[in-house]
Amino acid sequence: MSQAVLETETAPAARMDLLRFATAGSVDDGKSTLIGRLLYDTKTIFADQLEAVEAASASRGDEYTNLALLTDGLRAEREQGITIDVAYRYFATPRRKFIIADTPGHIQYTRNMVTGASTADLALILVDARKGLVEQSRRHAFLTSLLRVPHLVLCINKMDLVDWDKAVYDKIADEFTSFAAKLEIGDLTIIPVSALNGDNIASRSENSPWYDGPSLLHHLEHVHIASDRNLVDVRFPVQYVIRPQSTTVTDYRGYAGQVASGVLKPGDEVMVLPSGMTSTIAGIDTADGPVDEAFPPMSVTVRLNDEIDISRGDLICRPHNAPAVAQDIEAMICWMDETAPLRVGGKYAIKHTTRTARTVVRGLQYRLDVNTLHRDEQAGELQLNEIGRVRLRTTVPLLADEYRRNRTTGGFILIDESTNRTVGAGMIIEAQ
């Protein structure tokens, strides 16, 4: 492999921001090769890792250095030559730090893709130029939109094997664009690449003079994510109440949490849910001193001017812009448990922001075929990796927004109360 030319001097850390992306593709589309390429071109693969991978490849009888072994870290994965679980990888350029959630492609791993996509700013889907769009590509695009990942990149890979034929690229790009149009995908970028040779990965390739878009790395470095955050709706789920038991700090009472959305400032009038009591912000503290404003994803401590009874699970918002205080929830659920299906009447613990309650499944409207998007209204249950629309009733109100408006106050998990396993992921459609 040739090493792309990149700036390597230490970046001023304060100027870098953070982008999380999830990768998806069918087996053999070249996902591991692509990730290996990104790590290699950004000088992230270390010599001893490469050595270990080379040795492992050789002892398995692989003909080429199998970069997949870099990410397939579990014994079972190496033995079976497959990726089982979400693997996290890290690399950085002088502009950005990147966190890759590398998720396996098969339908039996929908759970993993959903997990990786839940926190992703961007999803990267791979297709093999020779095969074009396959069922899995559509499913991956659908999951990207379901999880509201703001940016999607389609890499049409192995362009070297179709002689960099523009017509092949155009056909796949057109087909994907029209499919994506049905899915409410915010921002779509399509890049022709050869992961193996590094074309259009770290720099633009001369093999595709007809392509005038960015290289993959350039796009990852420049895609604008700052405004993906919701800075309008103030949502501050209270995590923990800080009350020092000390002689030096007296009468301190602060509400610790991470800003889910919106901008909070001292002096702002706020409302506390579920009580509905109002007050004003006295100050916003961090260990580095008070701040003039707090916005996502800052972890801060908010003090109020009035003594109100507030505890974990409560939420601070603005009086005229509040989430629903709701016990009846309509949501899309991705079922994640292999031991038992979701059934109507099933009872679970539900964790939503910092609030935990109990819930019962009141109805299953339909199960969605994630490949065809067909809705099966006759379905009686959701098995592992199946997705459907359900109606839930909770024991106490959730302070909830639609997931499409707010990924933090719109998402929840279901927990089996006997095994304590996380069995489902939910995205709220409607709360009342």
Partner: protein, 303 residues
């Protein structure tokens, strides 16, 4: 909304915010958390994050040192100073004591990394800790790359990689039955370089052995080990004084130093940014055993 400037968040601020969030979740949902403190740079950063997460209150949980008895003097001294300044409660789980009481047996080669695990588990049982903060990072090792932020352990402290709870959004599931526990890794998404950038930004003091100094070392298998009470010269070996620093601090009998001129945090950052070898590959004899060495140890209940 297109204000980018005023609402900018650097990657270090985003990582810090995430780690603080995780620590507060644990404090809110568990009864007896404890922070595993080795005196290494990752646990030092973790301690700083704990300080910041609960300010102006004190850190609301004790710290535990699983003491192999094979320590660098500088690290023990650092530990005791930090603990005193922060007014913390320190629990020491001593491997030496465990050997004396027969809980574990000294290995023929005298290394104590592996026999730490039963000592750790016995302390967890004794103090009934239900959440243990560890400083492991996912960039360190490929089994760790697959471990969750909240890593469930059964009543034997064992990790089952095929039976992990999915982690979505910031919704961590810490539910467990009595006797079971959760290992929590607030630094999961940090890299070695992030840790150093943070140490620089926060001006966190470190034990001096992290910076370049002259030391009597012996070269073994391409690694430089300090010659001291734990590592003695074998027949045919010679020692020499080299300028070195430590990239990780573990069991003093198994942790090697790297040749380095980096005697300030800025120089260390430059060095780490340019290095081509992972920190474990460069310094840990214990990880070289097999391709799945770490996975196996974690399954047994290791950190």
């Amino acid at each position: 909304m297109s204000q980018t400037k005023p609402y900018r968040v650097s990657h270090l601020d985003a990582l810090e915010a995430e780690s603080i969030f995780v620590m507060r979740e644990v404090m809110a949902e568990f009864e007896r958390p404890v922070l595993l403190f080795s005196g290494g740079k990752d646990s030092i950063v973790m301690l700083r994050l704990a300080e910041k997460a609960f300010a102006p209150a004190r850190i609301p949980f004790p710290v535990m040192h699983v003491d192999t008895g094979h320590n660098f003097a500088e690290v023990l001294e650092y530990r005791d100073t930090r603990v005193a300044t922060l007014g913390l409660n320190l629990v020491v789980a001593s491997v030496q004591e465990a050997i004396e009481t027969g809980l574990v047996r000294e290995l023929p080669d005298g290394t104590r990394n592996r026999i730490q695990t039963p000592v750790l588990l016995a302390a967890v049982e004794k103090y009934r800790f239900d959440a243990l903060f560890g400083g492991a990072r996912r960039d360190e090792e490929k089994a760790r790359a697959k471990e969750r932020m909240f890593s469930f352990r059964d009543e034997f402290g064992q990790w089952d990689p095929k039976n992990q709870r999915p982690e979505l959004w910031g919704l961590y599931n810490g539910k467990h039955h009595p006797g079971e526990s959760i290992r929590v890794f607030p630094l999961s998404n940090w890299t070695e370089l992030d840790v150093w950038h943070y140490i620089a930004k926060e001006q966190i003091p470190l034990p001096s052995i992290y910076y370049a100094h002259d030391r009597e070392v012996v070269e073994r298998g391409g690694m430089f080990y300090a010659v001291n009470e734990f590592i003695r010269l074998r027949d045919g070996e010679t020692s020499e004084v080299r300028r070195v620093r430590y990239r990780t601090v573990g069991d003093a009998s198994q942790t090697a130093a790297v040749l380095s001129e980096a005697d300030t945090v800025e120089k260390v950052i430059d060095e780490v940014a340019a290095t081509r070898i992972t920190e474990r590959g460069a310094t840990r004899g214990d990880d070289k055993v097999s391709e799945a060495a770490m996975e196996d140890r974690k399954r047994e209940g290791y950190f």
